[in-house]
Amino acid sequence: MRLIQLTVDGRRYDVPVNDDELLLDVLRDKIGAYSVREGCGVGACGACTVLVGGTSVSSCLARAVRYDGAELTTADGLPDDDEVLSAFVESQAMQCGYCIPGFVLMAHELLAENPQPDREQIAAHLEGNICRCGTYREICRAVEVAAERRART
């Protein structure tokens, strides 16, 4: 057991972890960050995505001890006026909604790198996330809406 410090959505947590514990399990079981979800356990679906200093990480493949001192963002922690969140809501970009927080974070990462992505660039960036309900049309639209909205403000 080692005590590590994680800053999740602006709050600091000191959590004891084993060397082999996954970041996903620590976030869920020790911090209660339930928007971070297991879908495959092998980094192939994107449901467990978190942003670490703005970069997307599959927390189901990450050992928690390596993130001592890191600043993490989850979809739950985004500010209320976040353009990506509102664009997803208005575009009806969800059905069951289980995978959507992962898409929201991937959209954030994309727009930070490329504020005006075209359809192909959006698809290329979201390719590793699976929405089994098949809400891809609305998800892509939401990313475009968020980009337009950011460009205006």
Binding site: V42, C96, V104, L126, Y136, R137
Partner: protein, 778 residues
């Protein structure tokens, strides 16, 4: 008479594009799912699984597992059998599946021993230390092995008590056929002679649902009752199954459900629940099991199915006969396979007017993971067959495939070959809508060089699950908010959004004021299941009924103010309007007056139950085989890369007759979502088995449609031919979109490069191989 009250104005009622309930919470991930329940101090379950497809268990050594620090208990099937006896065998159609194998294993991956430990890692580590000795039995890898009837997956058939018409199969030995359905109409052989006929053999492989939320069940004992919190589409079924298994009154089992993170048929009937319930009950301990993705692949699959079929037409282009021999591979346990075999096998000739039909549909045991319900309930597999076949028949006649279908499609009032008269199933409307959407009648640029372009179309038909039972309870609060209690599970289809729209429409309310209670069998009333696209019609009718009762109740109460007569009273958005006097009686005041207390609620309930006429034993026909039909069509324009065999979809249009769209946005999302799932089945989805071993049961190996597999254009189209007894004419839509996709794609590939592929999926290798075999120039 002038009215002083405002006109009724409901913009969240039936037909409104009401935003999905909980949208903001879903986007942030704030909606809690079953596995989000905190779990300090419970026992975690891991299972040791069979490494053999078919074997007798000769000994089990659990000593090493039990010695691992942190392990609380190690439980075998024999341990459970000592306490539960034959009650431990459960299943919706056949009671043939134990939560842990007893004496014999029937597929690679079958649970044999359960370990309870302080955490998941310890439980899984200990489970690996269990040592089982087997004596191999002859394995039955596929349908052909099974039909050879040399070795048998089960010694005797064990139909459950749920379906009376399966009872005669009890105790039948020396067979791998769990169930057989036969339909006979006219003389297909004689009818086919002299006309144009085609015959082909089709195969649709097993595939997996892969909802991204993993199955999870948590169970504990509280006040002498068993509590379950579980990812299930069938809470009422689970309560009954667990009560039967533990020999408890229904009142002593409580099943609660959180909104599901997708399911598509995978979280139904007996999944993790029997094992967790048995362990929690016998150990008096809170027990938690969240399946890993690899385990989820083993819990249930979609039936692989073969169809040997033929179809014929006369010189005028009218269908004269159809024959289909359908073989559903149900794996080691029947689950709902016998029902799929009958209810979906029966439409194996498609939605056409055909005077001579013979269908044989069989549910066949093999030594593979059990196959169960999957969006479409066995219909996509037979649609794959009849829609490919009729396309070839049209081509053999030199006729446009859409026009040929159009002439032969069943229309309103036609009696189908099943014996049932068609109503509210607008196949022609769906076909016309999708062909028009992709420009079927416009000239097609066939492409050049390595790319070849083609167009394809397909239609589909499915019967709704019948008979079933739905109940609704509505509480109207004095402040005009309301609480709706139903046992429909929202798993993304949007029932929590549309059911309040029905109440809002009847009571002239704002749907935002109506909350649907999370399913809890202690609170929410019995409902057969959330499956088979049945809820909009069945539960929707119960909801409409309860709202109408509430309206009558309010009018009765208002009548006291209006001098005892209801004659001139009308419920409006503002209250009860007396059209004679122009007075408006506020509902809050009426309710307060009635009870003489503040904060009281009016409660009403309503039951909606459908019935059917069982199939004739000789002919397999029935005057009412189903309560209603789903009609679907898809049209696709695509490119085939002749060098690589890769298919690129340019435009996919999908239409479904939903009777009436309660919420058009949600209907379009279901149609489009089903179509995308169907594209996966068409192009790459496939569970691969080798000697009974699943080879690709992880998401590294099992491909699912991603955003990159989206067609350049996807057009969902709502067709509305109102159902006479649907709530406001409505029917369901959950399965419609998936049904016609694979054959529409294959028909377009046929159009593009001239090859007929009869085995799914249309992987690049398979397309290339077919082109090679046909000698198509590359």
């Amino acid at each position: 008479m002038t009215q002083t009250a405002p006109e009724t104005c409901v913009d969240s009622g039936v037909g409104a594009r009401r935003p999905r309930v909980g949208a903001a919470d879903k986007v942030r991930g704030r909606l809690r799912h079953v596995a989000d329940r905190p779990h300090g101090g419970c026992a975690h379950v891991a299972v040791h699984r069979s490494t053999r497809p078919h074997a007798r268990i000769t000994s089990i050594d659990v000593s090493a597992a039990a010695a691992v620090p942190g392990v609380e208990a190690v439980v075998t099937g024999a341990d459970l059998y000592k306490v539960l006896g034959d009650r431990m065998f459960t299943g919706p159609a056949f009671s043939d599946q134990p939560p842990l194998a007893v004496d014999r294993v029937r597929y690679v991956g079958e649970p044999v021993v359960a370990v309870l430990a302080r955490d998941v890692a310890t439980a899984r580590e200990a489970a690996e230390l269990v040592y089982v000795e087997y004596e191999d039995l002859e394995p039955i890898y596929d349908v052909a092995d099974a039909l050879a009837q040399r070795a048998f997956v089960h010694d005797a058939l064990r139909p459950s008590v749920v379906f009376g018409d399966l009872r005669h199969l009890a105790g039948k030995t020396q067979t791998n056929i769990a169930y057989e359905y036969n339909l006979k109409l006219g003389d297909p052989e004689r009818a086919a002679a002299g006309g144009t006929a085609v015959d082909l053999e089709f195969w649709a492989p097993p595939v997996h649902h892969v909802p991204i939320e993993l199955p999870a069940t948590i169970g504990w004992v509280e006040a002498g009752r068993l509590e379950l919190y579980s990812t299930t589409q069938t809470p009422s079924y689970v309560r009954q199954a667990v009560a039967d298994m533990l020999d408890l009154p229904l009142s002593h089992v409580r099943v609660r459900v959180a909104p599901l993170g997708g399911s598509f048929g995978s979280k139904m009937y007996d999944r993790l629940e029997p094992l967790v319930a048995a362990l929690a009950w016998l150990h008096g301990r809170e027990v938690r099991m969240v399946a890993s993705r690899e385990e989820a692949f083993l819990l249930t699959t979609r039936h692989g199915a073969g169809v040997i079929s033929s179809m014929s037409a006369d010189a005028e282009g009218n269908l004269t006969s159809a024959v289909a021999d359908v073989r559903y591979d149900t794996g080691a346990y029947a689950d709902i396979g016998p029902r799929i075999t009958a209810k979906s096998g029966m439409v194996a000739a498609g939605p056409y007017k055909i005077p001579n039909v013979a269908i044989r549909s069989r549910c066949i045991y093999t030594n593979k993971p059990s196959a169960g319900p999957f969006r479409g309930f066995g219909v996509p597999q037979v649609t794959w067959s009849h829609e490919s076949l009729i396309d070839e028949l049209a081509r053999a006649r030199g006729e446009d495939p859409a026009a040929f279908r159009r002439r032969n499609l069943l229309r309103e009032g036609d009696e189908s070959y099943l014996g049932t008269v068609m109503h509210s199933a607008d196949f022609v409307g769906c076909l016309d809508a999708v062909t028009e959407a992709i420009g079927w009648d416009t000239p097609l640029d066939r492409g050049s060089g390595r790319w070849r372009r083609g167009r394809g179309v397909a239609v589909g038909v499915k019967a709704v699950l019948t008979p079933t039972v739905a109940n609704a309870v509505l509480q109207l609060n004095q402040d005009l908010s309301a609480t709706l209690m139903i046992s429909t599970v929202d798993m993304g289809q949007g029932s929590d959004t549309i059911m309040p729209q029905i109440v809002a429409e009847v009571l002239s309310m704002d749907a935002e004021q109506i909350r649907v209670v999370a399913v809890d069998t202690d609170v929410t009333p019995y409902d057969t299941i959330t499956a088979g696209s049945r809820s909009t019609y069945h539960t929707g009718n119960a909801v409409r009924g309860v709202a109408e009762r509430m309206r009558e109740r309010l009018l009765d109460l208002a009548a006291k103010r209006a001098g005892g007569s209801r004659k001139d009273l009308k419920l409006t958005g503002g209250g009860v309007l007396n059209t004679a006097t122009g007075e408006v009686y506020r509902l809050s005041e009426i309710i307060h007056e009635h009870f003489g207390a503040r904060g009281a609620t009016l409660t009403e309930e309503f039951n909606f139950t459908t019935s059917w006429q069982p199939y004739d034993k000789e002919t397999g026909r029935s005057a009412k085989v189903t309560e209603h039909w789903f009609a679907a069509a898809a049209a696709v324009r695509l490119l085939v890369d002749r060098w690589t065999g890769r298919v690129r979809v340019e435009h996919l249009a999908v239409a479904g007759d939903v009777g009436r769209a309660i919420n058009p946005t949600l209907v379009e999302q279901q149609l489009a979502g089903g179509a995308i799932m169907g594209l996966g089945h068409a192009l790459f989805d496939e569970l691969v088995f080798d000697q009974g071993q699943m080879l690709n049961g992880t998401l590294l190996d099992y491909q699912l449609p991603s955003v990159k597999d989206m067609p350049a254009m996807l057009t969902p189209i709502i067709v509305e031919s109102p159902h006479a007894t649907g709530p406001f004419g409505a029917k369901g839509v959950g399965e419609t979109g998936v049904i016609p996709i694979a054959p529409a794609v294959a028909n377009a590939v046929r159009d593009a490069v001239g090859v007929r592929i009869t085995r799914l999926p249309l992987s690049p290798e398979r397309v290339l191989q077919a082109m090679d075999e046909a000698g198509v120039e590359k």
